[in-house]
Amino acid sequence: MSLSPDEVKSIAFLARLSIQEENIEQYSQDLSNIFGLVEQMNAANVDQIEPMAHPQDAMQRLRDDVVTEENQREKLMSNAPLTEAGLFLVPKVLD
């Protein structure tokens, strides 16, 4: 298993991570090694096995449809890098 530098770039884009050009090669090696390790799974025959998404064999609990929250805008927006008029600001979104 090996991941080319181009594959690393496209994964990094999918994950929205800027990677310095000079580090691409290292990431490509590391990820190749990790997937080499991961592919030890191929030794197991799991055709008939149900996937296990969760450690518990339980079902979802449901909440009553009640409004419990009050406006805390000031507090909750105080960590934001940039705000105006009660809005979070980001560079222009183009549709």
């Binding site: 592919e39 296990m52 222009k92």
Partner: protein, 489 residues
Amino acid sequence: MITKSLTELSTSLKAGDFSSVELTQFYLDRIAKYDGELNSFITVTEEQALAGAKAADEQIAAGTAGALTGIPMAHKDLFCTDGVRTSCASKMLGNFIAPYNATVVEKLNAAGMPMLGKTNMDEFAMGSSNENSYYGAVKNPWDLERVPGGSSGGSAVAVAARLAPVATGTDTGGSIRQPASLTGITGIKPTYGRVSRFGMIAYASSLDQGGIFGTSASDCAMVLETMSGFDPKDSTSVERDVPNMSASLNDSIKGLKIGLPKEFFGEGLDSSVAEVVNDAIEEYKKLGAEIVEISLPNTHLAIPSYYVIAPAEASSNLSRFDGVRYGYRCEAPVDLTDMYMRSRGEGFGTEVKRRIMTGTYALSAGYYDAYYLKAQKIRRLISDDFKKAFEKVDVIMGPVAPETAFKLGEKTDDPISMYLADIYTLSLNLAGLTGMSVPAGFSKNNKMPVGLQIIGNYFEEAKLLNVAHQYQQVTDWHKQAPSAYTGGE
């Protein structure tokens, strides 16, 4: 003071031997004195600690104090603490003031435990050495050239160096048990669903579980009991009564069936670690336990499947760190994509990026079945291995880690070698079981601590603590502390 158990501290506080403010100040002073070189805290919350202590003293005076009232503690810096920086040891959250308390923090605050501060860790809990911290590596108090383990290395070191009586941690693949083992203290990871995950910054949601570090099983029992329990804010929290974990500590373990998985004692296990673990098993025989050879045949698949499942969940969990609502935003982004790419690229450290990319790739179109789905099927195999084993035995024992604390920098260039350090711990996160590490002695080779791992069936924390406590009644490994930080006190 630092040799007292929580029960003894509680008794002294109530008897008026010292106040909570005095006790808390005592620990704050120790932190100020020693933590410069250990680096176990990211944030020391002196003000909150003393305010909490003052309130505790009032409760004690009013006679409304509980068993833990007035005893200070530390929290791993991924538990959200209202009004206090919660950084996850990342540049990404370097300025993040959490606007709410994690349920665990809420419960321990309510129990009257002043918060000394927020402890260092591997960034976003990703790592086994605590070298992946934006705030610098944490040093092992037994040997400053060695790692304390991770990811809850700061909490482990704070307790090992007696800078805090107890500290919270989280365990996704061994992050409580491994640092407890490497620093010579007691740490327990409860069953998945026992402790609320609300307010615990997620690494891998189906594996993460909060737990506690202390110097003894009985200290851990007192705090774990308090932090456990159903939380309506966490859908994966289990509606199940929490037993009185201290009450059963003294139960006899005569006839206890201990399973020893042969896969935990094979190739790769350092012989000096094996020796310590075997000695501990001998001790259990003396206590009347019965030893049963068992097999967990899919153990070798735990690492490969874990390194799909955990990064996959992490890649998604960490998408919220986008520089929009909180956290790091890069300087002068030219457009939206640039803001995302650089905020995340600059805000996350190397290991975090590595795991996000691993998970992103594993989930991407065309690879899902080969990686994620397969890993989930293997997860069931591993879980079934344990189910079968627990039909025959009461607890399972073995080493926590294949070797003792390694040198700082020794494995940083080779992520795979670091991943292999979790071989004995992460299979039970995949299954969701409870496990703990109990100090069992020191390696003949390097004099570093070695922990014994005890694994329990679902919701059998009280049984584990009982089994550990019985061992601690006949041994004093848990009382040994690094003399550089505890000598003369």
